[in-house]
Each structure stands twice: as structure tokens, then as C-alpha cells.
Amino acid sequence: MRVLLFGIAKDIAGTPAITTTAVADVAALKEWLYTQYPALRQLRSLMIAVNKVYANDEQSLLPGDEIAVIPPVSGG
């Protein structure tokens, strides 16, 4: 599954997009991310967006979903 990364998450992974192993839902994706990139655990928060909408841990991930890692936002 392809996952977009932004801000400090992009810096931690060293790339703006990664490909994960198959994960069933947002909780599993986060677990996978934390294992691959332990520094993500130190962030104030870590949200996942699915198709440009914030997703909760229970949300299923489907092939073709646009998935993004959202570290703490700081616009404005």
C-alpha cells in the first residue's frame, strides 16, 4: 500500500511516499509505521487521512485508497 508522508514524518522516513506491507486498517498501519520508524512515536500526535479525510483507528484500508500520514499540523 502506498502512503504519503508530510512535514516531520517525511523527514523521519527520508521520503515523501512509502509502500507498506498489506495492512487491514488504520490501527495496523500505525503499528507498522511505528515499527519501521520508531521516531514517529515521539511526535505530539500522528493522524492518518484516508482519501483526504481524517480516519479513526478502526477504519479499514482498501486498495486504491489515498493514504497519508499527518504529523501535528502547524499552519496559520
Binding site: 516531520i8 483526504k52 501535528p72
Partner: protein
């Protein structure tokens, strides 16, 4: 069309004001956010803003529609820059027009407060001796 949301390399106050002004709304409240030259006593050289643009636009649109649907606003513009900005330069402009000024103040403040909490935009502060992603760590 009563909503304008936009992410661009440069934005300006007049564009937001022109969009929301109309002869049926007496009052417009604007918020203009600029780059400060220091943060907690540390001199800021520049800021860099990164956006997840399609989602940022969608979240800005949600904020705008909420103010129109529930706060009594007639028209609203929310503009945010992307890329590099230097002290004094404008980063965000919000303009809310309403028949009654009280709700325009409320909606404009709601919009900037919510933008800072929900819109996927990230700010990197560059100091003379390093850089940090703002608010990333506790």
C-alpha cells in the same frame, strides 16, 4: 459562490476583501497572519510551509461552509500560502462578511483557530543555527 478557499505562493488581503465585500453586508472582519521575526526570543530567519494541498483545501472548505451554515456569515475567504516566507510576509488571510458584525468577529476567529488545528499544513522555522518543524514534539 459565497466561499473562496485558496493555497498559493502569494496571497493578499485585497483579494480576500474583494471577494467577501458586497453592498448587502455592512461589516467585514479580517485576520491577517504574518511571519514574526522571533519565536520565544530566538531570531527567525524564514519559514517554510508544506501543504497536503488537496486535503488542506477540503478542510478549509469545511471550515468555510461551517461558518456559512451555522454562524450567520454571508461570505468568507480563506487564503493560505505554501513555500518559503520571510519575516513580515503574509501567511494567511481570512475575511468574513456578515450583515451583523458580532458574528463576523466570531466566525473569523473560529476559522483561524480551526485552521490551526485541522488543516494539513506544516511550518518549519529556520533560525540562524538550525530548523524545527513547529509543534511536532510535545
Amino acid at each position: 459562490m459565497n466561499v473562496l478557499v485558496k493555497i498559493a505562493a502569494d496571497i493578499n488581503v485585497q483579494e480576500a476583501l474583494n471577494f467577501v465585500e458586497s453592498p448587502d453586508c455592512g461589516g467585514v472582519v479580517l485576520f491577517v497572519g504574518n511571519v514574526r521575526n522571533e519565536t520565544q526570543g530566538r531570531k527567525v530567519v524564514k519559514l517554510f510551509f508544506e501543504c497536503y494541498e488537496p486535503m488542506a483545501i477540503a478542510e478549509m472548505e469545511k471550515i468555510a461552509q461551517h461558518t456559512i451554515a451555522t454562524m450567520g456569515i454571508s461570505r468568507i475567504a480563506i487564503l493560505h500560502i505554501t513555500g518559503e516566507k520571510f519575516p513580515g510576509e503574509t501567511v494567511v488571510v481570512i475575511a468574513a462578511a456578515a450583515p451583523h458584525r458580532g458574528v463576523a468577529f466570531e466566525a473569523c476567529e473560529y476559522a483561524i483557530d480551526t485552521l490551526k488545528q485541522t488543516v494539513p499544513i506544516w511550518k518549519k522555522e529556520f533560525f540562524e543555527d538550525g530548523a524545527i518543524w513547529v509543534a511536532a514534539h510535545p
